[in-house]
Symmetry: C2
Subunit: 329 residues, 2 copies
Amino acid sequence: MRDKPAFRTESEFITWVERRTARRTPGVRLGIGDDAALVEVAPGQELILTTDMSIEDVHFTLRLHPPQAVGHRALARSLSDIAAMGGTPRYALISLALSKHTSRAWIEGFFQGLLALARRFGVAVIGGDTAVARGPTAIDAIVAGEISRGKALRRSGARPGDQIFVSGRLGLAALGLRLLQSPSGRRKHTAAAAIRAHLFPQPQCALGQFLSEHALASALMDLSDGLSIDLKRLCDASGVGACLLADRIPAPPLPDAADALALALDGGEDYQLLFTVPPAKRPQVPPRFGKIPLHCIGEIQAPRRLHLLTPDGRTRPLKPHGYDHFAQR
Amino acid sequence: MRDKPAFRTESEFITWVERRTARRTPGVRLGIGDDAALVEVAPGQELILTTDMSIEDVHFTLRLHPPQAVGHRALARSLSDIAAMGGTPRYALISLALSKHTSRAWIEGFFQGLLALARRFGVAVIGGDTAVARGPTAIDAIVAGEISRGKALRRSGARPGDQIFVSGRLGLAALGLRLLQSPSGRRKHTAAAAIRAHLFPQPQCALGQFLSEHALASALMDLSDGLSIDLKRLCDASGVGACLLADRIPAPPLPDAADALALALDGGEDYQLLFTVPPAKRPQVPPRFGKIPLHCIGEIQAPRRLHLLTPDGRTRPLKPHGYDHFAQR
């Protein structure tokens, strides 16, 4: 029998904490509830602060994930939060609670993966904390990023009529995890790309900066828990609803289309960007940003409901099915 | 049988990480190895960043520590790091890995304790991350603080002839933990003060700011793991040694003087400040800062050895005996 959970969902918990901390404090421009927090550090300059935990047997397993991937993914989660505000990541602190059984080789691999990603994004690892404890290995990756005043893109700006975009291909990371869990005879090329998407996701910082600099997006967030749950969070923050077109969603290339769509909607861990664009700015959105395709997958609507339009013309409610820490208990 | 530890000591691990991250990066004024990191965020303004983990059965237990104390202590550790640089804490992010069995009442108590301390220091809690996992509850408290450019006090500035000071009374927190673990018939007044010092330690931010503003200290750090190990860290960072006078060390009032001295030297978790003062500035150090006594307990010396002078005129080497995560394994 499961314990009665302390909170039913993460959203309920976050709202509860937010109510206890939300006070107008000098310097705070955005507190709890978005992808990251914003504070004013100098006239014209804001700092973006974010932190993400990666815990053994929740976010990774020692069996499936090489230490290089654990290090890469731990930092990628926080870099993606900076991307989700449109900012530039600058500094990182890494807190590491090591299991008593962690080997030197694992620690070396972990930092190798983490520091390679940090270097590629010009991020300096400047501190952290370390403890050795019973229980699973846990990492907390803290990243500070920069952005010009007023340029940060929040979740709360979507308005009815705005077009909904996602970058890249969704569900690939979830497919990669499935392949790692039970390797099968799937076509090699897709399999390798999916496994790479899962083990070494690429934060979309350059795209976030592009959307911020050109003021193209009315709302922006990253896709960490799954499109269905993350879109609900964006809509809730904006006080709107949405309609998605099923055949526009860039799902993984699988023979079973329903399976592919489910992975794209509920898979999570893609760390692609989800953003909304006002109709007048729609023509300015390029079909690709570098090598990353940008897909228009639906429209923001006033009624606070989420639904999905299938190719046969039928509409069904879009239920949030991504990962929720409290709901999993 | 214990596993072979990945690193022998925390210092060895920190040096290992530091070597892999220490590169001159624009904006970074101080990286891994001090109480906190320093980055330049605007001309004349530096940001102090620090993070500290608090893990069930390492830093607290559910049996001895009420949730209010767990929340207070988790944040106090990071506030104390900001004090240890001479800065002013401004913003906090709290990452929380909850055990599956955590109750709503525990979470409420935890935030009650944490937010009361945050309010008292004018610190805004602006974000964090939450997960529910098997294993012990773990908290990572991240704090960002401010300081004027060049005003931060580091561990590395102590020079031979500098006088060594500590604030407050040492060993009280360790005595409090001992009393909580096995309550006895000890004199009530001392017992209550010691238990309070353990459960609700007070970060010395105002004292740190005073030392920084008046440029009184050549080196500064906070006492988190114990005077004997923390003084060794300060001396190692400064490339010096030290001689302490046993009868000057403000130990807890216990009938057994040797026991009291051991608690003061090796107890840890006092979160008082340890600082060194050049001889010329010695007269400017007041005997008390507010209600906190400031004790001169010894002198920095050139030979890189630590020793203790006892009242009978004998000298013995001062061995570092405080808490070390890697050495505990």
